[in-house]
């Protein structure tokens, strides 16, 4: 509590203390009254009950006082929350994309990451996008959460006020690996952030891509979350491993018909764009989204280049 990690922590934690404080007071007060009545008016001590039917005054008292208290709690809950809806104009705008079961973050200059890296003391607006089912972006240390609903773009904003690494969870149940849909938020000093960004900027990335075969494809695979379901070390996850897949002979099923094929450029392209058509034996249909709108032909080619390096 009161870590000060974001601009919302203090106001939110104040509301927690207000509500929990009032609640504990009444919980103890009412419980103590009940226990006292049970002892005081036990039939052994108090053999004849007084036939009281009620009291209008008391009914009014114990309606009006709680009414005032809940209105106070409502007000502070709303007041603590309302800034969450109004992002400052000069905020850093990052596109956060969720898919089953990974995250990616796209910065205004086109840099993409799978970890959210933000500068200290700077307002950040996240455009929340889901490409498949409902997810929810939750950073407990920041006291912030908002659903990522396919077909619409929700927004959230916050200011990271303390450098450090914080957990980022998916809070809305989204299927098999929901509990592994986890990444981190890193809050960096402005200078550190600028250095990091300079390294990750496009020109640098292209330079790396030129130097190592498949490096561009590897980055695409990381930022598009492919590794949540496909391993590169041969282990079986939700989807087939990428290791040695290029050029391999595999058994696939198309509309219930099984056949053997060799994995080539055309097959990989089809599996990325229409993943539910040819299903590799031993795996389930309906696990993967089409990446038709996420990856263009050139990027798919880079991915194929990377896969062919995984022997």
């Amino acid at each position: 509590m009161y870590s000060g990690a974001s601009n919302l922590v203090t106001t939110t934690d104040n509301v927690f203390f207000l509500i929990i404080g009032i609640s504990v007071f009444f919980l103890i007060g009412i419980s103590a009254t009940i226990i006292w009545f049970i002892i005081r008016y036990n039939n052994k001590k108090h053999p004849v009950a007084e036939q009281i039917h009620g009291s209008l005054t008391l009914e009014i008292v114990w309606t009006v006082i709680p009414l005032i208290l809940v209105l106070i709690m409502f007000f502070y809950g709303w007041a603590g929350y309302s800034p969450v809806r109004d992002a400052p104009k000069d905020a850093l705008n990052i596109e956060a994309t969720a898919r089953m079961w990974s995250w990616s973050f796209k910065y205004p200059n086109g840099v993409q990451t799978d970890t959210l890296i933000i500068p200290l003391n700077k307002a950040v607006v996240l455009d929340l996008i889901s490409i498949d089912v409902v997810h929810s972006l939750y950073i407990p240390a920041f006291r912030i959460k908002e659903d990522m609903v396919p077909g619409r773009t929700n927004k959230m904003w916050f200011i990271g006020q303390k450098t450090g690494t914080y957990e980022l969870f998916c809070a809305e149940y989204c299927g098999l690996s929901h509990s592994y849909m986890f990444t981190e938020v890193k809050v960096l000093e402005q200078q550190e952030y600028d250095n990091w960004m300079a390294q990750r900027s496009d020109t640098a990335a292209q330079a790396v891509a030129m130097a190592v075969p498949g490096a561009a494809g590897r980055r695409l695979i990381e930022v598009n979350g492919c590794l949540a379901c496909h391993s590169t070390d041969g282990s079986k996850l939700i989807g087939p491993t990428f290791k040695g897949v290029y050029g391999q002979t595999i058994t696939i099923s198309t509309d219930g018909q099984t056949r053997q094929i060799t994995v080539d450029d055309a097959y990989i392209t089809k599996s990325i764009y229409e993943p539910d058509v040819d299903i590799v034996e031993g795996y389930r249909k309906g696990q993967m989204q089409s990446y038709k709108n996420q990856l263009n032909d050139q990027q798919v080619q880079q991915i194929i280049e990377y896969l062919s390096t995984l022997k």
Binding site: V24, P66, S136
Partner: protein, 532 residues
Amino acid sequence: MENNHLPNYLEYRGKYKGLLGWLTTTDHKRIGLLYMYSMLTFFATGAVLGILMRLELIAPGKQLMEAQTYNALFTLHGLSMIFLFVIPGVAAVFGNFILPIIIGAKDVAFPRVNLLSWYLYIIGAIIVLTSQFMGDGPPDTGWTFYAPYSLKTQTNVVAAVLGAFVLGFSSILTGLNFITTMHRLRAPGMGWMRMPIFAWTLYATGWIQLLATPIVGITLLMIAAERLLGIGFFDPALGGDPILYQHLFWTYSHPAVYIMILPAMGVISEIIPTFSRKPIFGYTALIISSMAIAFVGYFVWGHHMFTSGMSTGSRWIFSFLSFIVALPSAVKVFNWTATLYKGSIRLQTPFWWAMGFIFVFMIGGFSGLVVGSLATDIHVHDTYFVVAHFHYIVFGGTGFAFFAAMHYWWPKIYGRVYNAKIANIGLGIFFTGFNIIYFPMFILGMQGMPRRYYDYLPQFENWNVVSTIGSWIMVTGLIIIITNLLRARKATGKIVDDPWDGPTLEWSIKSPPIVENFEEIPVVTTGPYEFK
């Protein structure tokens, strides 16, 4: 006694004998017991699933099962506990058994429809349970069937959804039956304002069942139509809206919480006067608060969706109304407490259950303020805090009241008393275990552990271990409680008509009651809780 020759409902032989006699009965008391035993079966199933989930969560990483199995497990746990136990719950069992007697009627208004309700309940239950074994595996959507996941998963969602749809009809017909019974069949002299609180809460519940259940019925059919026919209601890929699903689902499923809790509050309102030996404090206030909960409860569903991306206006309006709906519950707690004042309290088992109810219900209610408030809900929404809040209200509220009702009316049902000492020990163990399971979940939620997690980060381990240990304690208590009651049906119980000197009409007749309850319909001349 001159009426010894009249057979009670357990001995009575109609057209058929034995099991067939039970399966074709239209006697509200036998139907109440049909519900009770089927519900206890599903409750036991749900409890075993809960124990397995807690075992899986005792440490990070895989313990017993794969993630897919765990996801199917919490789905079935939710489906069986919610649709097969707590929604029909107190109303179907004790509403059926007690309502006609407590208002001085021979049966419900439509006895055959009543039997039909039970059959619909069983058919729905069978469909839900067989969905586990057919198609491409057990549903893994959670009991909320959130779109578009429920449209995309390959598991057998359609069958589960259709099962819930059939169960809805059972609930609607029961609500209709009870409302009509109270309008038409009250004993002469029993004006509305002389009707016991338990009947009043069933009346409020009946209207919710009648008006809200069709909405979820339609919604579930829409899911089925979208999966089978590809009609785009909810999937944005087909032009639908996932938020529409959430609105439709909670428009029913929030009032459904009041379907569960109102009759539970009714039970507590019967028990407290009997064991305090004085009238319920604020009879009228309790009735008004029940109707207020039923009414305002329709307009708070959006508080399940504070993080969904609703407009700012909807968010504060739903938050405001959610705080308002807290008031009638607070009024009830104050009136129950005031009933004890200057009473002559008898510390018997049903009374202890009622006190246990008030305590856990208060914790459930107060934690409801945290999730009703916008700033705090944003943090704890979809975390273990909500799991704790929900179990304190639904299991702590409805579950405690269900067991309270069993201990209060068991002598009425079987004409025998149970071993009070064992019952109290069972309650003590159950109460302890209950709080050890669920209270740590509040802390886990505050620490930020999301719900429906098969696996978790190491910092959440300690409280998960505590919670799992609590589940073993609670189940021990449950076994003691249930076996003690079941044994009291025959061997151990002493024969009695009215062990509590109860004030309401059900205690004026023999136990077990005769087939049509009353030899002569009583004439009511006073309010329900008058002690001489």
